[in-house]
Symmetry: C2
Subunit: 462 residues, 2 copies
């Protein structure tokens, strides 16, 4: 008998973990909804042609691909042929892997399926379209700490509008979501593609913007010296490199700091486009007081080929966890599916990393571990039957409740309650049935009192 186990890089979530994950997802979902984002879902199975070539060479390698004999089978309409097919299928194990023309792949992210969704349903969608999507994705990556083969993405995008109001709303969403989760130490970094282009322009670098930014992206890891060395290796002279580091830097996102950057750029016209955009974002943010730091970071790139305007990244400093969210504006998301000139902006939360930070720093809300179910304990079968009625009354009042199903000693029943994390138990014995005053035990406080069902309902509903 084989010992059952999870496939490599995948996980089971038991009730306790589910409660914690749900806390994160619900916190974010509530904020998305508050900002008028509407839910959509796309299937896990996509035609392979929808996915292939969309995630670069590395991404293609990590795609889970399926050649299904089912698709072959489904094209057989004649009953006798179907029997022949099934006969073959059962005879030869190899036949089960015969490639059919139809190839499938598993969802790799939520962005490309969303692009497909928008193009496919463009006549039914009213733009600007604010959608959120919380679903699993699969990547055949080497499993590591915080890296799984099946994990959850949590995206919000607004598509079909160039207004910078959306960027401002997304910053507000970051603020509210991280506040709700209790991660007020989170920092949202912002950059703008035009700043990166302006750097290449101002330093008169004569190689592709992409190569420049992919080097710049490593700043966190290899430091200024490392970046300089790499750029010099590409033929950039040292003076220019030094000039680069006088321009880029971190600063709180304020109008004043934007003007300081403008000066550092010698009022470069391309940089000015970035500054105009970010000033508009600040206008939309207005006087609103944010709990988290919003930081202008001119070294932030996150794969420039994709983003065309603002670029976002959220981190929790000193968590050792890297980015917990990323996003930005893109002007050609749907182009790969033939729909040109649709601009959008979106962000994506990394639920698993947020989970691990909350876990490592014990930042979960206080009562999250408590099972809200009321367990009804009893001394014998008659008491249990009476308990079924009590449970029904609690449920009618909207409370969760379950009657202990076995005939065991009362101490065993209390053990069970503690083990499943229940806080409140009701004990029913003969005297309780006679008087109608039930014993309500609070296992957290170790207290108990005799109350009528109505009093219990009032107390627990609080």
């Amino acid at each position: 008998m084989q010992k059952p186990s999870n496939a490599q890089g995948t996980r089971d979530f038991g009730p306790e973990v589910m409660r914690k994950r749900d806390f994160i997802l619900q916190s974010i979902r509530r904020v998305f909804i508050k900002y008028g984002f509407e839910p959509i879902e796309t299937p896990a199975l996509e035609n392979l042609s929808t996915l292939e070539g969309k995630y670069g060479e590395e991404g293609d390698k990590l795609l889970y691909k399926i050649r299904s004999n089912q698709d072959l089978r489904s094209r057989i309409t004649d009953v006798e042929d179907l029997e022949k097919y099934d006969d073959l299928f059962n005879k030869s194990k190899e036949f089960q892997w015969l490639p059919s023309k139809s190839k499938l792949g598993l969802r790799y992210d939520l962005t490309i399926p969303f692009a497909r969704f928008v193009v496919q349903h463009r006549n039914d969608i009213t733009f600007p379209f604010r959608r959120y999507q919380i679903q699993q994705v699969w990547r055949g990556d080497r499993p590591a700490k915080g890296r799984y083969r099946e994990f959850t993405q949590c995206d919000a995008d607004c598509i079909g509008s160039k207004s910078l109001l959306h960027e401002a709303d997304l910053i507000q969403i970051y603020n509210e979501a991280f506040s709700a989760i209790g991660l007020t130490s989170a920092v949202v970094k912002i950059n703008h593609r035009k700043f990166l282009e302006a750097l290449v322009d101002e330093l008169k670098l004569d190689f592709p913007v992409g190569r420049f930014t992919s080097t710049l992206d490593k700043l966190d890891k290899i430091g200024e010296e490392g970046v300089m060395k790499e750029l010099v290796g590409y033929g950039v002279d040292e003076t220019k490199c030094k000039q680069l580091f006088t321009i880029i830097g971190n600063a709180e996102l304020t109008v004043e700091n934007l003007h300081t950057f403008a000066k550092a750029f010698n009022n470069n016209a391309i940089a000015q486009e970035a500054i105009d955009d970010l000033e508009a974002v600040l206008r939309y943010l207005g006087e609103s007081k944010l709990n988290i730091r919003i930081e202008l970071d001119l070294s932030l790139a996150r794969g420039l080929d994709y983003y065309t305007g603002c670029i976002f990244e959220a981190i929790v400093p000193d968590s050792g966890m890297g980015s917990i969210s990323g996003g930005g504006r893109y002007d050609n998301l749907t182009g790969v599916f033939g729909l040109k000139d649709v601009s959008g902006v979106g962000i994506s939360f990394g639920i698993d990393r947020i989970y691990e930070i909350l876990e490592a720093e014990s930042l979960w809300p206080e009562n999250l571990h408590i099972n809200a179910t009321v367990l009804i304990c009893h001394f014998d079968e008659a008491c249990q039957l009476y308990g079924v009625g009590v449970a029904a009354e609690l449920r009618d009042a909207g409370l969760q409740s379950v009657v202990y199903s076995e005939n065991k000693r009362i101490s065993k029943q209390f053990d069970y309650a503690s083990k499943i994390g229940v806080r409140h138990v009701i004990v029913i014995g003969e005297s309780e049935m006679e008087s109608g005053a039930l014993t309500l035990k609070d296992l957290t406080l170790g207290e108990q009192e005799n109350l009528s069902i109505q009093e219990i309902v009032t107390k627990l509903a609080e």
Copy 2:
């Protein structure tokens, strides 16, 4: 440019469909929680060995299987070898399909993964364990009306207890869930394996119980005559068949009707075991008033090899949709993974079929189509900026709100509101900004009034 499309048998869910699906899932989920069921999730990807051989010959054919080169790659630890591998991978398309030893499959139902979960985590689980699980499953079946290759299952099971309290709770769950969904025309059919065994015993049939019940299962489709013909074909004599049809039948689940069946069975001892169980269930149900009909149906089998006690099935008569839920007690679910003698009982809702019945019979709740977001419309940029502040105040009060992001004519903004299903819009012009009295328009009633933000919040919070 290829036209993007869904993989065959899969679907996108836009906001309207999501709202409807969510209504069903939330209705059921709330009832599960009320009865003390706790959520778990298992991965979509399972080791193929966990799934293969568990769903019969037909099921094995419908399993989605994945041979991932990723698993091969992940076993290479040497960096140079990894480079060689990636080189090969990029050179030869065929290499991408090279089978590795590690094979994966997609979740086919929630029952087998739950059994694996229970066995794998048995030391962390406190029994009896009430779990619910709402996740996608995949079957490479021929797509048809109401049959998809990717669909949602919604299961509740209680494992590790033989108490019939759980059967009674599941009937209550059926009652509450169908009532919440508005499907009070649903009928829950109940049978017991011992009734089926008693039939074979009483009629002294000399062939396997399984063959008998698989014929009996067809009663709905082929009628008494068809069943009789098939049984006679198997060598059962006609008198016995006629006797069979005098015994089986449909009746409301009551103690009286149970006794009537006992008589029809000549007080067969095996039948008595079923009657004892069902009487215990009725005792636990007590005086509770149910909105739906609970029917004893002695022809219900649902794959007898699996169920060992009560068997459940829910239908909506005349919906043409077949069963919308099924379940029962099993005594050896975890046996396939080496853990013997764990008894459980559970039910599973077919969300897609329930959806289609509600859709066909227009049974959705009245306001489900309304988008609860308040759209803030404006006459110019200054009004829009003012609107951002209004939106923030609405959100602080817990309302959903979005500021229209474009500079378009007010009539276009109203069009947008209707198209995305919004009921309430706030209109901000110069006079509104001056007076602070905003125009709140109700697009459903076609009414409008001038109110302060605070008055709007109070009105909409209702």
